[in-house]
Structure formats: structure tokens, C-alpha cells
């Protein structure tokens, strides 16, 4: 950072702006809240919502703080009467055609328009005009639905597809009061990052079809988590019911459903963004679990004892180490492993139809902690010809392993079908049920916390290894 800060006054407070900063940015960094709809840190400046108008140097005309470069000795007022009136007027204008349907709107509770209306808005509308009616529940694509009546045309979503995902998939068509957001190919908004626009939307105009009407957001709590979809390991929030609430999603075990996944801002890894696979984490984390320990395909309570016996009789065992394992689990394995050779295991490979790799976030390696595994056990691939007579496979097997006739023990959270069943299958906990860290492909550590208790039949993999080693 340059040492030549720009000294200016915001609301009688001397603050220092960095060169090139706008008044809005400097104010935010110094804890002064200037309301804004269309401004976003990572998007270009539109300057169109006009709620960030502030009084500058006592000029009669208000200036938009988002497009105003901080200048030395500038005197900015964000709370004088003229500014308050302008904010009231802007909110009045935004709400003249905005439906008063917060009661059935998924965004309610985390809606910028709602927040600002409560904080800055006029107590009563002066409008007695019937509201304009526009298309509601208009599907932009398979994942996102648009309520045109709620849209305030801030163009954040449009700028996102232009500047971040670079698909240009959205645009604003028509003019003036009749303009609306539309997908380039109507109904086919299939940008791999499309779900970010739901979070970007300052109102309830863009809604996730997956989360639609599932839960009021104030019944949910976000848990700091990490996406396991690829080697990027993006920071996410996994949202579950708050403990005090007994209601649960139909079909899900009480308390054990994640309702949605959103991005958690992390400048070191993903910025504020997340790909659609990440937004879907809670759906693919609800795959079928292994219900019991299995011995030769049949449920058994002696799974661990069997595994112990097999291991003790094996001449040359090997371990395939899960690249979905946390660094802490890997440390336990490393401590108990002794001379047994270990190889990294690819739990997941890209599946058909998935974006393999791009320049924004998505990585070709679909496992979150390969780097952590390689750092501890090397990157030598498992060699079927090495003469191992027993292989402990830790992690899901998404593609058949080259095991030939070798017996194998499988530690897995999910019931992945396999061509040839393992001699012993031991259910273990999944990422939602443990805490730890992943090392992403760039070497950045990212910690995650548990959402739920592990099911009674499953064990933490680290405990299994300690027990097998004893």
C-alpha cells in the first residue's frame, strides 16, 4: 500500500482513503455505512441505483458515492437532511412498483431493499397507484427463476455474467420502466456460475429453484465449511436449521439436512464467488450412506474385527488414501501407518457433463485435499502389479479400481456401487460430520466445521485407523 493516503472528512470524521479509492469504498473500510444496491466490490460501477447519494463539499447537487473518487480535503456528509430525503425518495421510487410480498419472498430477512427500507425509508408510501404487473416465476434457466416485479434493475447480475463468468448470458431488454432482465437464450441461463447472481441480487428477484419456498432464512444458521467439489476448496457457508427449531425438511432425518449452500467470501481462495457445483454441495452430500458395516456384502457387526484379522494376516498390505480426508485425519494415518505403503486415491474424477476446468474457479482435480495427501504420502500412483495382497481403500470409489482379484477393505461414507464388493466395508463420517482443514491446489489451508453429529453406525476414519493399528 502506498504511504500517500488521501485525507478526507466523512461525517465530521477524519479518515484516510487509499489512492484510487472511491468515497464509498473508503467509507466502508472505515465503518461508515453508505447504502448501495448496484455497487459491488468485484463488479464495475454502474452508478444507477442512486441510493448512495451523498453531499460533497456543500455543493447543492448530491453525488453518487460509488462513482466519486476520494480527493484530498473533501468533506462528505452522509447523514444530512438532503441526503436523507434523497434516500427516502429513491426508496419511494423503488417501492412504487415493488410488491409488498415479503411474507412469501425467500429473500426476506437477508434482503437489501427490506433492510434499507427499514433503516432509511419513509414510514408510509405516498403512492396510491396500482402496482405494475410483470412476469413472475419466470425461469431464466433450469436453476434460477426471476420475479420481474421484485427486480430493481440494479444490473448486478448482468454485470456478473459480463465481467466475472464472461458468458454474457444475461441482459436488460426493453427501455425505461418496462425493462427487464432476460437470458440471452430465454429459459437457458446455464452459466456454470449462474447461482452467484442469486446472492448478488439485492432483492428477491432472482431465486434458486432448489431453495424455493424451502425455509425462512431466519430459521437457518450458516456453518463455516469448505466445498469438496474440486481442488480449489472454496469457502462456503452450509446452512442448516437452527438447533432450537424442531421442524425439518420433508423426507430428511430431523436436524440432518443442509438446506442450501452459499459462497463465503475468502479473498485468498475464491473471492466472493462459487460455482454451481458448490452451490449444490448440500444436494450431493445427501447421497445414500452405507447403512452398516458390511462383510462380504452382508450387514455385520464385526466389520472392524474382520478388517483387523485380514490386516494381521496380510503379507503385503497397502493403503489408498482418500483425497477427501482432512489434514488432521491424514496425520493420524501417517502416525499409525508404519512401513505400509500408501498411495493417493482419486475419490472422484470429472463426471459426464461437468465443467472440467476453467480460468475462474473450477479445477480438473475433483478432490479437495490431494495436495495434503501428496505432501504426506508422495504422489506415486498405486501399482496393481506391486504384489499387494490386501488393499485398504479409503474414500469413495467413483470409477473401478485396478485391483484384480486382490481383497480389499473399503472405508467410505457413501454407498458407492462397486463392480466387485469389498471384503469389508466400514462406514465413516463425511465432511459435514467432522472438522479439519484441507490444503487446496495452491497450498492454502482452509478450515471447516461440522454441521451434524456423525450417524451412530459410522466412525471417524481417524478412529478406525487408531483401532486397526492397536
Amino acid at each position: 500500500m502506498s504511504t500517500t493516503g488521501i485525507k478526507l472528512t466523512i461525517d465530521q470524521r477524519e479518515i484516510e482513503a487509499r489512492p484510487g479509492e472511491t468515497v464509498l469504498q473508503a467509507a466502508r473500510r472505515n465503518g461508515v455505512d453508505i447504502p448501495h444496491f448496484c455497487y459491488h466490490d468485484k463488479l464495475s460501477i454502474a452508478g444507477s441505483c442512486r441510493i448512495c447519494l451523498v453531499k460533497v463539499n456543500n455543493l447543492p447537487k448530491l453525488q453518487p458515492a460509488c462513482n466519486l473518487a476520494a480527493a484530498p480535503n473533501m468533506i462528505v456528509e452522509t447523514n444530512v437532511e438532503q441526503v436523507q430525503k434523497a434516500r427516502e425518495d429513491v426508496l419511494q421510487f423503488l417501492l412504487v412498483n415493488h410488491p409488498l410480498d415479503c411474507g412469501i419472498c425467500d429473500k426476506a430477512g437477508e434482503c437489501r431493499l427490506q433492510d434499507y427500507q427499514h433503516k432509511y425509508g419513509p414510514a408510509q408510501s405516498i403512492s396510491r397507484d396500482p402496482k405494475h404487473h410483470k412476469r413472475k416465476l419466470h425461469d431464466l434457466g433450469p436453476r434460477i427463476t426471476l420475479d420481474n416485479e421484485r427486480c430493481i434493475l440494479c444490473s448486478r447480475c448482468v454485470r456478473f455474467t459480463r465481467e466475472i463468468s464472461r458468458t454474457n448470458a444475461l441482459g436488460i431488454v426493453e427501455r425505461g420502466n418496462h425493462s427487464y432482465v432476460e437470458a440471452q437464450v430465454p429459459g437457458q441461463f446455464d452459466d456454470p456460475y449462474s447461482d452467484n447472481v442469486i446472492d448478488l441480487c439485492p432483492t428477491g428477484a432472482l431465486l434458486s429453484r432448489d431453495f424455493l419456498y424451502k425455509c425462512r432464512v431466519w430459521f437457518l444458521q450458516p456453518i463455516r465449511s469448505v466445498c469438496t467439489g474440486c481442488a480449489r476448496g472454496c469457502s462456503i457457508k452450509s446452512w442448516k436449521r437452527m438447533n432450537v427449531r424442531q421442524q425439518h425438511m420433508p423426507g430428511a432425518a430431523p436436524g440432518n439436512a443442509a438446506y442450501r449452500t452459499t459462497a463465503r467470501e475468502n479473498p485468498a481462495i475464491n473471492g466472493p464467488w462459487l460455482c454451481n457445483k458448490g452451490y449444490d454441495q448440500h444436494t450431493w452430500m445427501s447421497r445414500e450412506r452405507v447403512p452398516h458395516p458390511l462383510v462380504d456384502g452382508a450387514p455385520a457387526t464385526v466389520g472392524e474385527a474382520m478388517a483387523k484379522r485380514l490386516l494381521s494376516t496380510a503379507r503385503n498390505p497397502a493403503v489408498l488414501v482418500s483425497t477427501h480426508a482432512s489434514n488432521e485425519e491424514l496425520d493420524v494415518l501417517q502416525a499409525v501407518l508404519g512401513a505400509v505403503p500408501a498411495y493417493p486415491h482419486r475419490d472422484w474424477l470429472p463426471v459426464a457433463g461437468e465443467v472440467v476446468e476453467d480460468n475462474l474457479l473450477i479445477r480438473a482435480d475433483k478432490n479437495p485435499n490431494r495436495r495434503g495427501v501428496v505432501a504426506r504420502f508422495g504422489d506415486q500412483e498405486f501399482d496393481p502389479a506391486a504384489g499387494h495382497d490386501l488393499v485398504v481403500v479409503w474414500g469413495e470409489v467413483s470409477t473401478p479400481l485396478p485391483l484384480g482379484a486382490t481383497r480389499w477393505i473399503h472405508l467410505t461414507p457413501f454407498g458407492t456401487p462397486s463392480e466387485r464388493p469389498a471384503a469389508v466395508v466400514l462406514p465413516v463420517s463425511n465432511t459435514y460430520e467432522r472438522q479439519g482443514t484441507f490444503t487446496n491446489f495452491e497450498g492454502t489451508l482452509n478450515a471447516f466445521e461440522p454441521l451434524f453429529e456423525k450417524p451412530a453406525h459410522a466412525q471417524h476414519a481417524a478412529d478406525v485407523f487408531r483401532s486397526l493399528a492397536s
Binding site: 441505483c49 425518495d89 421510487f93 423503488l94 405516498i126 425493462s179
Partner: protein
């Protein structure tokens, strides 16, 4: 030397051609300037003449040219032919009858600003002006007045004709630039101003047709001669388009400082059918309206107009005779602005439509006193808070109509009908 800048020749079927323009002495000044003057000298002449922009804002043209950095490697010039202000029809006359005058002016400006590519942005609704301008461009190109090496001087400049798609807001310079770039005609936030970052992010000068078409006269007769015409502060002549309830509506070229009453009562033949004057919108529909009493002694120059609380604007004088319903008239204007708001920024997008709906209701006889109060309040939330001037343009008529003809509005909301029966008073 004084005299008309534009209306110096009899309009005939061929007066727009290159041959006739040359016969009137056209392009002689350009050829001489290209031989004898430096770009800086041309710019200095324009500045010395005191010429002001004729699009409505009235900014000093020479000053506008000066703002462009002398070190910029690429500078663009745009001629704003998006003449869409209701009541205005001066640029169209220039294009239809003397398009070469505009081209010569553009070449002067291009020479002064070192512009290689200039653009003429013409409104989509223009048909004859478009054909005349295209014809003039073809003639000029064939005669070596455009393109590589103009008149053998080593100076090269080409003019690209671009047709708009019918948006009033594209007459605003930054949305004109966006439209030229192939984008939606949304005005840009300022700063940066076009003189710093305009078309394709390069310094750009956007000038009105009448402004540019005046430059050849200045170069022919000298800046001093131009500065002598009209009043001292804002010299020259202006094209005034008089329309509405007058006997002889039309375009009149008059020096600045010309009495407004004389323009209406004598030049335009007085009020239709010998009726009484009720009001005048003096500079295009966005300028505040003046009552008959207010125009007494008023002259057509910025100072006098500002004193009366209005503007010369684009020189479009709309005359309204006694008997006209001001509520209905305002509704017509507000419908226009609601239709033309680009929809980018909140106050204008929502406000213009809201004002129009209230006026529609009042005109339908359904208005209330509360509506009138809302109508008084809404412009205060729009004016000064928008990206471009369209919000102000839409608000000013509302403010001034209600202020000056409030009793008509009150009558309409209390009785559910107009104070006037729609026929002009005898």
C-alpha cells in the same frame, strides 16, 4: 460584416448540392485554412468568436475543444444529429438544405482537434436529412474533401454516418457515445467527461449540428465579425423554430438577444386566429414554461431567460394560445418523457412513469388533491439525482406548469374536468 449564418440563400430543389454550396462560397475557407492555418489557430478563432453550443446546454464551443488533451494520440469528433427535443426542427433544416455547411464545419473541428475519424450520429426517424447527408458525404468524398489528404493539404479525415435506433436519450452525449459503440443507449456517469474518456475510451468532442455548421461562417468572415452579432456575452445568431398556435410557424434565424414577443407576434405572424397568448415554452419541451405576462420585454439570450426562470435551450419556441388546457398539455409532455426514459437510474425510470400515471388519472377525471401533492413532491426526488439530464428535463415542465397554472390543476382534481373545453378561446 453581419448577416445570416444559415439563411443566406434561397432554398431551391438543388440548394443542398455541392455545386451550389461552392457557388455560395462554401469550402473556400476550409481550403484556405488547411493551407495557411495551424490547427491551434483554427481552435483559437472558434474560441475568439464566443460561439456557444446550440444543443441546449450552451457551453462555450472553443472551451470544449480546449479541454481535449493536446497529447492525446487519438481524438474523436461526434456530430450530434439526434435532434429529438419536442418542438425542435432546426438541425433538420440545415441537413436538408445545406448539409455541406455541416460537413465543412466538421472538417474545421476535426482539423482543430486533429481528428482522423469523425462520426455523424443521426436520429433514426430522420429520412430526408439522412439521404441529404449521405448524398453530401458521397459528393464530398468524390471531390476529395473527405478521406485521405483533404484538398491536397496532407490532412486526412473521414466522417462515418451512424443511424440511431429511435431513442431520445441518445441525444445526451454520453449515451450517444454508448450507442455509437454498439451498446444500449445508457448515459454514462460523469466524471469522466467525454473530453477525457469518450468514444472507445478516447477523448471525444460531441457538438450540435448548428454549432458545427456555424464554424465555416466564422472562418470565412472572422471571429470578430461573429462576435459583433447579437449580444456581447453570447454572440451570433440562432435558429428559432416557432411552432404551436401561431399564424406562420417556421424556422427563423435571429441574432441572440432578439425580443421573444417580436419573434412570436411579428415574425411568426401572431397568435392563430388573432387569439390571446397564454404561455410560451421557450426552448424545447424540457424548459420551464413562461406565461404571457412573463415574456414581456424578454429577449432570447441566456441571461434574460435565466432571469425569467427559463432557458433558451434548443431554440424551440412552442406557443400556446388562450383556451389550451395546461393539464392535458403537461400530460402529453410527461407521457413523452416516461416513454423515453432509458431505465438506467431509479429516480428517472420510476419517477417519470409515476408522474405520467398520476397525470393520466387527473386527465381522466379521477385525480385527487393528494395526487396533486404527490405530483409536486416527485420532481424534488428526481431533479439533480439522476445520471443524465433527462430526469431534470422531465421534472421541469411539471414543476413550472403546476407553479404557474396551479388553478387549472386544482380545478381538474376538484371538478373532474378541465377548466377549458378544448376549443381555443375566440
Amino acid at each position: 460584416m453581419s448577416g445570416p449564418v444559415f439563411m443566406s440563400f434561397p432554398v431551391t430543389a438543388t440548394s443542398h448540392t455541392l455545386a451550389e454550396y461552392r457557388a455560395r462560397g462554401g469550402y473556400a475557407a476550409l481550403e484556405r485554412a488547411l493551407r495557411e492555418m495551424t490547427p491551434a489557430q483554427v481552435g483559437a478563432q472558434a474560441k475568439a468568436s464566443g460561439l456557444q453550443g446550440r444543443g441546449g446546454a450552451g457551453f462555450q464551443t472553443g472551451l470544449k475543444w480546449e479541454f481535449v488533451s493536446k497529447d492525446a494520440p487519438v481524438v474523436y469528433l461526434c456530430c450530434n444529429i439526434d435532434e429529438g427535443e419536442p418542438g425542435t426542427f432546426k438541425d433538420r433544416w440545415i441537413l436538408e438544405h445545406s448539409p455541406h455547411q455541416l460537413l465543412e464545419g466538421m472538417l474545421f473541428a476535426a482539423y482543430a482537434l486533429r481528428v482522423r475519424h469523425a462520426f455523424a450520429y443521426i436520429r433514426g426517424e430522420f429520412d430526408l436529412p439522412l439521404r441529404r447527408l449521405q448524398g453530401a458525404l458521397d459528393e464530398a468524398r468524390a471531390a476529395g474533401l473527405l478521406g485521405e489528404n483533404v484538398c491536397g493539404s496532407g490532412f486526412s479525415c473521414d466522417i462515418v454516418l451512424h443511424r440511431g435506433a429511435g431513442a431520445y436519450v441518445c441525444g445526451e452525449e454520453s449515451s450517444l457515445i454508448n450507442s455509437l459503440e454498439g451498446k444500449k443507449g445508457f448515459p454514462r456517469n460523469k466524471p469522466p467527461f467525454p473530453a477525457v474518456r469518450g468514444l472507445y475510451q478516447k477523448p471525444t468532442v460531441v457538438n450540435n449540428v448548428e454549432t458545427l455548421a456555424t464554424v465555416p461562417w466564422i472562418m470565412t468572415h472572422g471571429a470578430a465579425a461573429y462576435a459583433e452579432m447579437g449580444i456581447k456575452k453570447t454572440p451570433g445568431t440562432r435558429l428559432f423554430g416557432v411552432s404551436g398556435h401561431v399564424e406562420q410557424p417556421g424556422l427563423f434565424e435571429r441574432p441572440t438577444g432578439y425580443p421573444l414577443a417580436q419573434l412570436i407576434m411579428q415574425d411568426a405572424g401572431g397568435i392563430l386566429g388573432g387569439r390571446k397568448l397564454k404561455a410560451v415554452i421557450p426552448g424545447g419541451s424540457s424548459t420551464p414554461i413562461l406565461t404571457a405576462a412573463e415574456i414581456e420585454g424578454l429577449t432570447l439570450d441566456p441571461e434574460s431567460m435565466t432571469r425569467a426562470g427559463s432557458m433558451v435551450g434548443s431554440g424551440a419556441v412552442i406557443v400556446i394560445a388562450e383556451g389550451t388546457c395546461m393539464v392535458r398539455l403537461l400530460q402529453v409532455l410527461s407521457r413523452f418523457y416516461a416513454h423515453e426514459s432509458c431505465g438506467q437510474c431509479t429516480p428517472c425510470r420510476e419517477g417519470t412513469d409515476w408522474m405520467n400515471r398520476i397525470l393520466e388519472r387527473i386527465v381522466a377525471g379521477q385525480g385527487t388533491a393528494a395526487d396533486l401533492a404527490t405530483l409536486r413532491r416527485l420532481p424534488t426526488g428526481i431533479m439533480g439525482n439522476t445520471v443524465c439530464a433527462l430526469g431534470d428535463a422531465a421534472s421541469m415542465p411539471v414543476v413550472s406548469f403546476i407553479k404557474k397554472f396551479g388553478h387549472e390543476f386544482e380545478h381538474f382534481v376538484t371538478h373532474g374536468r378541465s377548466l377549458h373545453d378544448g376549443r381555443l378561446a375566440p
